[in-house]
Protein backbone atom coordinates (compact mmCIF):
# COMPACT_ATOMS: atom_id res chain seq x y z
CA UNK A 1 0.00 0.00 0.00
CA UNK A 2 2.72 2.29 1.00
CA UNK A 3 4.71 1.38 -2.09
CA UNK A 4 1.67 1.94 -4.26
CA UNK A 5 1.04 5.26 -2.65
CA UNK A 6 4.68 6.13 -3.05
CA UNK A 7 4.56 5.23 -6.66
CA UNK A 8 1.44 7.23 -7.00
CA UNK A 9 3.05 10.11 -5.17
CA UNK A 10 6.19 9.90 -7.12
CA UNK A 11 4.13 9.48 -10.26
CA UNK A 12 2.12 12.49 -9.35
CA UNK A 13 5.28 14.39 -8.63
CA UNK A 14 6.71 13.56 -12.01
CA UNK A 15 3.46 14.55 -13.64
CA UNK A 16 3.47 17.81 -11.72
CA UNK A 17 7.02 18.50 -12.69
CA UNK A 18 6.09 17.98 -16.30
CA UNK A 19 3.00 20.14 -15.80
CA UNK A 20 5.07 22.85 -14.23
CA UNK A 21 7.52 22.76 -17.16
CA UNK A 22 4.74 22.76 -19.70
CA UNK A 23 2.85 25.48 -17.87
CA UNK A 24 5.90 27.69 -17.62
CA UNK A 25 6.50 27.41 -21.37
CA UNK A 26 2.89 28.04 -22.19
CA UNK A 27 2.76 30.91 -19.71
CA UNK A 28 5.91 32.36 -21.17
CA UNK A 29 4.53 31.93 -24.66
CA UNK A 30 1.24 33.48 -23.63
CA UNK A 31 2.94 36.44 -21.97
CA UNK A 32 5.15 36.95 -25.04
CA UNK A 33 2.11 36.72 -27.28
CA UNK A 34 0.27 39.34 -25.25
CA UNK A 35 3.34 41.56 -25.23
CA UNK A 36 3.84 41.20 -28.96
CA UNK A 37 0.19 42.00 -29.60
CA UNK A 38 0.65 45.27 -27.71
CA UNK A 39 4.14 45.92 -29.03
CA UNK A 40 3.53 45.32 -32.76
CA UNK A 41 1.30 48.37 -33.33
CA UNK A 42 3.92 50.54 -31.61
CA UNK A 43 6.71 49.26 -33.87
CA UNK A 44 4.57 49.21 -36.99
CA UNK A 45 3.22 52.70 -36.42
CA UNK A 46 6.71 53.90 -35.58
CA UNK A 47 8.23 52.44 -38.73
CA UNK A 48 5.38 52.78 -41.24
CA UNK A 49 3.33 55.60 -39.73
CA UNK A 50 0.13 53.58 -39.79
CA UNK A 51 -1.49 55.78 -37.15
CA UNK A 52 -0.72 58.85 -39.27
CA UNK A 53 -2.04 57.11 -42.38
CA UNK A 54 -5.27 56.14 -40.65
CA UNK A 55 -5.71 59.62 -39.24
CA UNK A 56 -4.99 61.22 -42.60
CA UNK A 57 -7.28 58.79 -44.44
CA UNK A 58 -10.16 59.54 -42.12
CA UNK A 59 -9.51 63.31 -42.34
CA UNK A 60 -9.48 63.12 -46.16
CA UNK A 61 -12.64 61.00 -46.16
CA UNK A 62 -14.40 63.46 -43.82
CA UNK A 63 -13.38 66.36 -46.09
CA UNK A 64 -14.57 64.50 -49.21
CA UNK A 65 -17.95 63.77 -47.67
CA UNK A 66 -18.33 67.40 -46.59
CA UNK A 67 -17.46 68.68 -50.09
CA UNK A 68 -19.88 66.31 -51.83
CA UNK A 69 -22.63 67.12 -49.36
CA UNK A 70 -22.10 70.86 -49.91
CA UNK A 71 -22.04 70.33 -53.69
CA UNK A 72 -25.36 68.47 -53.55
CA UNK A 73 -26.91 71.34 -51.60
CA UNK A 74 -25.53 73.84 -54.12
CA UNK A 75 -27.02 71.83 -57.00
CA UNK A 76 -30.40 71.81 -55.24
CA UNK A 77 -30.21 75.58 -54.83
CA UNK A 78 -29.21 76.01 -58.48
CA UNK A 79 -32.13 73.88 -59.62
CA UNK A 80 -34.65 76.32 -58.14
CA UNK A 81 -32.87 79.24 -59.80
CA UNK A 82 -30.58 80.53 -57.01
CA UNK A 83 -27.38 82.36 -57.97
CA UNK A 84 -24.76 79.94 -56.71
CA UNK A 85 -21.65 81.58 -58.17
CA UNK A 86 -20.45 82.73 -54.71
CA UNK A 87 -20.90 79.24 -53.30
CA UNK A 88 -19.04 77.71 -56.25
CA UNK A 89 -16.10 80.03 -55.48
CA UNK A 90 -16.10 78.76 -51.87
CA UNK A 91 -16.33 75.17 -53.08
CA UNK A 92 -13.36 75.78 -55.37
CA UNK A 93 -11.23 76.81 -52.41
CA UNK A 94 -12.24 73.61 -50.63
CA UNK A 95 -11.60 71.58 -53.80
CA UNK A 96 -8.08 73.00 -54.01
CA UNK A 97 -7.34 71.97 -50.42
CA UNK A 98 -8.81 68.52 -51.02
CA UNK A 99 -6.65 67.99 -54.10
CA UNK A 100 -3.58 69.02 -52.07
CA UNK A 101 -4.60 66.58 -49.34
CA UNK A 102 -4.82 63.76 -51.90
CA UNK A 103 -1.45 64.67 -53.40
CA UNK A 104 0.30 64.67 -50.01
CA UNK A 105 -1.47 61.49 -49.00
CA UNK A 106 -0.16 59.82 -52.16
CA UNK A 107 3.34 60.94 -51.16
CA UNK A 108 2.89 59.46 -47.66
CA UNK A 109 3.15 62.90 -46.09
CA UNK A 110 0.30 62.30 -43.70
CA UNK A 111 0.80 65.48 -41.66
CA UNK A 112 0.32 67.69 -44.71
CA UNK A 113 -2.52 65.46 -45.97
CA UNK A 114 -4.34 65.87 -42.65
CA UNK A 115 -3.63 69.60 -42.55
CA UNK A 116 -5.08 70.20 -46.03
CA UNK A 117 -8.01 67.85 -45.41
CA UNK A 118 -8.88 69.80 -42.26
CA UNK A 119 -8.53 73.10 -44.12
CA UNK A 120 -10.90 71.73 -46.75
CA UNK A 121 -13.40 70.56 -44.14
CA UNK A 122 -13.48 73.89 -42.29
CA UNK A 123 -13.66 75.95 -45.49
CA UNK A 124 -16.67 74.01 -46.74
CA UNK A 125 -18.38 73.58 -43.35
CA UNK A 126 -20.92 76.38 -43.75
CA UNK A 127 -21.40 76.15 -47.52
CA UNK A 128 -24.15 73.58 -47.12
CA UNK A 129 -26.19 75.74 -44.74
CA UNK A 130 -25.69 78.79 -47.01
CA UNK A 131 -26.87 76.71 -49.98
CA UNK A 132 -29.97 75.57 -48.09
CA UNK A 133 -30.72 79.21 -47.17
CA UNK A 134 -30.27 80.28 -50.80
CA UNK A 135 -32.47 77.44 -51.95
CA UNK A 136 -35.26 78.44 -49.57
CA UNK A 137 -35.01 82.09 -50.66
CA UNK A 138 -34.97 81.14 -54.32
CA UNK A 139 -37.88 78.76 -53.81
CA UNK A 140 -40.07 81.41 -52.18
CA UNK A 141 -39.15 83.83 -54.97
CA UNK A 142 -39.97 81.15 -57.52
CA UNK A 143 -43.38 80.54 -55.90
CA UNK A 144 -44.20 84.29 -55.91
CA UNK A 145 -43.01 84.62 -59.50
CA UNK A 146 -45.04 81.59 -60.56
CA UNK A 147 -48.21 82.92 -58.92
CA UNK A 148 -47.74 86.31 -60.63
CA UNK A 149 -47.18 84.62 -63.98
CA UNK A 150 -50.23 82.39 -63.51
CA UNK A 151 -52.46 85.33 -62.59
CA UNK A 152 -51.29 87.49 -65.48
CA UNK A 153 -51.62 84.59 -67.87
CA UNK A 154 -55.14 83.90 -66.68
CA UNK A 155 -56.09 87.57 -67.06
CA UNK A 156 -54.49 87.56 -70.53
CA UNK A 157 -56.40 84.48 -71.64
CA UNK A 158 -59.72 85.88 -70.35
CA UNK A 159 -59.12 89.21 -72.11
CA UNK A 160 -58.15 87.49 -75.38
CA UNK A 161 -61.20 85.20 -75.31
CA UNK A 162 -63.51 88.10 -74.39
CA UNK A 163 -62.09 90.35 -77.10
CA UNK A 164 -62.30 87.50 -79.58
CA UNK A 165 -65.96 87.02 -78.73
CA UNK A 166 -66.69 90.76 -79.03
CA UNK A 167 -64.83 91.05 -82.30
CA UNK A 168 -66.61 88.02 -83.62
CA UNK A 169 -70.01 89.50 -82.71
CA UNK A 170 -69.18 92.80 -84.42
CA UNK A 171 -67.81 90.98 -87.44
CA UNK A 172 -70.89 88.76 -87.68
CA UNK A 173 -73.25 91.74 -87.50
CA UNK A 174 -71.35 93.57 -90.22
CA UNK A 175 -71.20 90.42 -92.31
CA UNK A 176 -74.98 89.93 -92.11
CA UNK A 177 -75.56 93.58 -92.92
CA UNK A 178 -73.34 93.32 -95.97
CA UNK A 179 -74.94 90.09 -97.11
CA UNK A 180 -78.38 91.58 -96.59
CA UNK A 181 -77.25 94.65 -98.48
CA UNK A 182 -76.36 92.39 -101.42
CA UNK A 183 -79.81 90.67 -101.45
CA UNK A 184 -81.44 91.13 -104.83
CA UNK A 185 -84.68 93.19 -104.78
CA UNK A 186 -87.65 92.70 -107.02
CA UNK A 187 -88.00 95.75 -109.11
CA UNK A 188 -91.11 96.38 -111.14
CA UNK A 189 -90.37 96.35 -114.83
CA UNK A 190 -93.61 98.18 -115.74
CA UNK A 191 -93.10 101.75 -116.58
Amino acid sequence: MAIWVGVQVSGCGIERLRDVGFMSFSKLFFVLLILSVFAVPIFVSGVFGVDGADGAASAVYRAEVAVVSAYEAVLDAEEVGADVSGLLAELNVAGGYLAEAHVWFGLWDFDNATRFADLCYYSVEDVRSKAVELKNEAHSLWVTDSVVRMVWSLIGVVVVVFLGFVVWRVFKRRYHRRILGLRPEVVSSES
Binding site: E78, L88, L98, R149, S153, G156, V160, G164, K172
Partner: protein
Protein backbone atom coordinates in the same frame (compact mmCIF):
# COMPACT_ATOMS: atom_id res chain seq x y z
CA UNK B 1 -65.51 82.55 -97.65
CA UNK B 2 -68.78 81.83 -95.85
CA UNK B 3 -69.66 82.61 -92.22
CA UNK B 4 -68.73 79.08 -90.97
CA UNK B 5 -65.22 79.41 -92.38
CA UNK B 6 -64.84 82.86 -90.82
CA UNK B 7 -65.93 81.41 -87.47
CA UNK B 8 -63.32 78.67 -87.66
CA UNK B 9 -60.67 81.26 -88.52
CA UNK B 10 -61.71 83.40 -85.54
CA UNK B 11 -61.61 80.43 -83.16
CA UNK B 12 -58.14 79.37 -84.33
CA UNK B 13 -56.82 82.96 -84.11
CA UNK B 14 -58.31 83.42 -80.63
CA UNK B 15 -56.85 80.12 -79.41
CA UNK B 16 -53.44 81.10 -80.81
CA UNK B 17 -53.53 84.46 -79.03
CA UNK B 18 -54.75 82.76 -75.81
CA UNK B 19 -51.78 80.40 -76.01
CA UNK B 20 -49.42 83.36 -76.34
CA UNK B 21 -51.11 85.04 -73.35
CA UNK B 22 -50.77 81.78 -71.36
CA UNK B 23 -47.08 81.26 -72.23
CA UNK B 24 -45.72 82.84 -68.98
CA UNK B 25 -47.73 80.33 -66.96
CA UNK B 26 -46.81 77.48 -69.32
CA UNK B 27 -43.13 78.27 -68.90
CA UNK B 28 -43.48 77.49 -65.19
CA UNK B 29 -44.86 74.04 -65.92
CA UNK B 30 -43.12 73.14 -69.19
CA UNK B 31 -39.35 73.78 -69.22
CA UNK B 32 -38.25 75.30 -72.52
CA UNK B 33 -34.84 73.87 -73.39
CA UNK B 34 -32.46 76.09 -75.30
CA UNK B 35 -29.28 74.64 -76.76
CA UNK B 36 -29.64 70.95 -76.02
CA UNK B 37 -26.07 69.90 -76.94
CA UNK B 38 -24.24 69.18 -73.68
CA UNK B 39 -20.51 68.67 -73.35
CA UNK B 40 -17.34 69.61 -71.49
CA UNK B 41 -14.38 71.32 -73.12
CA UNK B 42 -10.87 70.34 -72.07
CA UNK B 43 -7.79 72.17 -73.29
CA UNK B 44 -4.11 72.69 -72.83
CA UNK B 45 -2.37 75.96 -73.72
CA UNK B 46 1.27 76.92 -73.90
CA UNK B 47 3.04 79.29 -71.49
CA UNK B 48 1.91 82.31 -73.55
CA UNK B 49 -1.70 81.28 -72.98
CA UNK B 50 -2.01 80.36 -76.66
CA UNK B 51 -2.20 77.03 -78.48
CA UNK B 52 1.47 77.33 -79.43
CA UNK B 53 4.98 77.19 -77.95
CA UNK B 54 4.25 74.11 -75.92
CA UNK B 55 7.29 72.78 -74.07
CA UNK B 56 8.92 70.06 -76.18
CA UNK B 57 12.70 69.83 -75.76
CA UNK B 58 13.09 69.53 -72.02
CA UNK B 59 15.97 68.90 -69.64
CA UNK B 60 17.12 69.14 -66.07
CA UNK B 61 17.34 72.50 -64.31
CA UNK B 62 14.61 74.32 -66.21
CA UNK B 63 11.00 74.92 -65.32
CA UNK B 64 8.25 74.62 -67.93
CA UNK B 65 4.63 75.68 -67.80
CA UNK B 66 1.29 74.99 -69.45
CA UNK B 67 -2.28 76.08 -68.81
CA UNK B 68 -4.94 73.43 -68.37
CA UNK B 69 -8.58 74.44 -68.74
CA UNK B 70 -12.12 73.09 -68.63
CA UNK B 71 -15.36 74.54 -69.99
CA UNK B 72 -18.71 73.34 -68.69
CA UNK B 73 -21.67 73.14 -71.08
CA UNK B 74 -23.56 70.38 -69.29
CA UNK B 75 -26.55 72.43 -68.14
CA UNK B 76 -25.68 72.62 -64.45
CA UNK B 77 -22.70 73.21 -62.16
CA UNK B 78 -20.19 70.38 -62.28
CA UNK B 79 -17.55 68.95 -59.95
CA UNK B 80 -14.47 68.03 -62.01
CA UNK B 81 -11.23 66.26 -61.26
CA UNK B 82 -8.10 66.43 -63.43
CA UNK B 83 -5.42 63.79 -62.95
CA UNK B 84 -1.89 64.55 -64.13
CA UNK B 85 0.09 61.49 -65.28
CA UNK B 86 3.48 60.83 -66.86
CA UNK B 87 4.37 58.05 -69.29
CA UNK B 88 6.89 56.88 -71.82
CA UNK B 89 5.80 55.94 -75.33
CA UNK B 90 5.11 52.30 -74.42
CA UNK B 91 2.97 52.88 -71.35
CA UNK B 92 -0.84 52.97 -71.63
CA UNK B 93 -2.94 56.00 -72.52
CA UNK B 94 -6.64 56.25 -71.60
CA UNK B 95 -9.03 54.31 -73.83
CA UNK B 96 -11.57 56.90 -74.93
CA UNK B 97 -13.83 54.44 -76.78
CA UNK B 98 -14.04 52.14 -73.81
CA UNK B 99 -14.19 54.94 -71.20
CA UNK B 100 -11.16 53.48 -69.46
CA UNK B 101 -8.61 55.81 -67.83
CA UNK B 102 -4.89 55.10 -67.98
CA UNK B 103 -3.74 52.58 -65.40
CA UNK B 104 -0.67 54.70 -64.62
CA UNK B 105 -0.45 56.25 -61.16
CA UNK B 106 -1.65 59.80 -60.64
CA UNK B 107 1.04 62.32 -59.85
CA UNK B 108 -0.84 65.54 -59.30
CA UNK B 109 -4.51 66.45 -59.33
CA UNK B 110 -6.92 69.38 -59.49
CA UNK B 111 -10.44 69.39 -58.02
CA UNK B 112 -12.75 72.23 -58.94
CA UNK B 113 -16.33 73.30 -59.59
CA UNK B 114 -17.49 75.03 -62.77
CA UNK B 115 -20.85 76.71 -63.26
CA UNK B 116 -22.84 76.04 -66.44
CA UNK B 117 -21.41 78.03 -69.35
CA UNK B 118 -18.31 78.95 -67.36
CA UNK B 119 -14.67 77.92 -67.54
CA UNK B 120 -11.87 77.03 -65.17
CA UNK B 121 -8.16 77.32 -65.88
CA UNK B 122 -4.96 76.73 -63.93
CA UNK B 123 -1.25 77.10 -64.51
CA UNK B 124 0.85 73.97 -64.11
CA UNK B 125 4.62 74.16 -63.84
CA UNK B 126 6.85 71.15 -64.20
CA UNK B 127 10.54 70.29 -64.13
CA UNK B 128 12.73 67.18 -64.03
CA UNK B 129 15.30 65.85 -61.58
CA UNK B 130 17.57 62.84 -61.47
CA UNK B 131 17.76 62.33 -65.26
CA UNK B 132 20.52 60.11 -66.63
CA UNK B 133 21.54 58.55 -69.92
CA UNK B 134 22.86 55.02 -70.17
CA UNK B 135 23.54 53.87 -73.70
CA UNK B 136 20.32 54.23 -75.64
CA UNK B 137 18.12 54.62 -72.59
CA UNK B 138 17.17 57.74 -70.65
CA UNK B 139 16.11 57.38 -67.05
CA UNK B 140 13.88 60.02 -65.42
CA UNK B 141 13.83 59.77 -61.64
CA UNK B 142 11.62 62.66 -60.52
CA UNK B 143 9.06 65.00 -62.02
CA UNK B 144 8.45 68.22 -60.10
CA UNK B 145 4.90 69.49 -60.58
CA UNK B 146 3.89 72.81 -59.00
CA UNK B 147 6.91 72.51 -56.69
CA UNK B 148 5.98 69.04 -55.46
CA UNK B 149 8.48 66.24 -56.23
CA UNK B 150 7.08 62.97 -57.58
CA UNK B 151 9.22 59.91 -58.06
CA UNK B 152 8.41 58.37 -61.46
CA UNK B 153 11.45 56.19 -62.26
CA UNK B 154 10.55 56.02 -65.94
CA UNK B 155 12.79 55.00 -68.82
CA UNK B 156 12.63 55.72 -72.53
CA UNK B 157 14.55 54.09 -75.37
CA UNK B 158 15.97 56.29 -78.12
CA UNK B 159 13.40 56.76 -80.87
CA UNK B 160 15.53 56.25 -83.98
CA UNK B 161 12.85 57.62 -86.33
CA UNK B 162 12.16 60.88 -84.49
CA UNK B 163 15.63 61.16 -82.95
CA UNK B 164 14.88 61.58 -79.27
CA UNK B 165 13.83 60.17 -75.94
CA UNK B 166 10.10 60.71 -75.70
CA UNK B 167 7.86 61.03 -72.67
CA UNK B 168 4.35 62.36 -72.35
CA UNK B 169 2.75 64.49 -69.68
CA UNK B 170 -0.99 64.04 -69.94
CA UNK B 171 -4.15 65.11 -68.15
CA UNK B 172 -7.34 63.08 -67.66
CA UNK B 173 -10.70 64.73 -67.06
CA UNK B 174 -13.05 63.10 -64.54
CA UNK B 175 -16.50 64.27 -63.47
CA UNK B 176 -18.49 63.65 -60.30
CA UNK B 177 -21.44 61.37 -61.02
CA UNK B 178 -24.29 61.98 -58.58
CA UNK B 179 -25.97 58.65 -59.29
CA UNK B 180 -22.72 56.73 -58.84
CA UNK B 181 -21.71 58.91 -55.87
CA UNK B 182 -18.16 59.03 -57.17
CA UNK B 183 -15.89 60.32 -59.92
CA UNK B 184 -16.15 58.81 -63.39
CA UNK B 185 -13.67 59.19 -66.25
CA UNK B 186 -15.19 61.79 -68.58
CA UNK B 187 -13.65 60.34 -71.78
CA UNK B 188 -11.33 63.26 -72.33
CA UNK B 189 -7.61 63.66 -72.05
CA UNK B 190 -4.98 66.07 -73.34
CA UNK B 191 -1.21 65.84 -73.27
CA UNK B 192 2.09 67.05 -74.61
CA UNK B 193 5.05 65.07 -75.90
CA UNK B 194 8.39 65.87 -74.34
CA UNK B 195 11.78 65.09 -75.80
CA UNK B 196 14.24 64.62 -72.93
CA UNK B 197 17.60 66.23 -73.66
CA UNK B 198 20.46 64.82 -71.68
CA UNK B 199 23.87 66.47 -71.85
Amino acid sequence: MNLEEYRTLFIVATLGLALVAASPALSVVVPFQVGSQRFSEFWLLGPGHMAEDYPFDVGVGEEYSVFVGVGNHLGSSEYYLVYVKFRNSTQPLPDIGGSVPSSLPTLYEFRFFVGDGETWESLLTFAFQDVSLEGDVVFVGDVVINDVVFSVNSVSMRDSEDEGFYFQLFFELWRYDMTMQGFRFHDRFVGIWLNMKVS
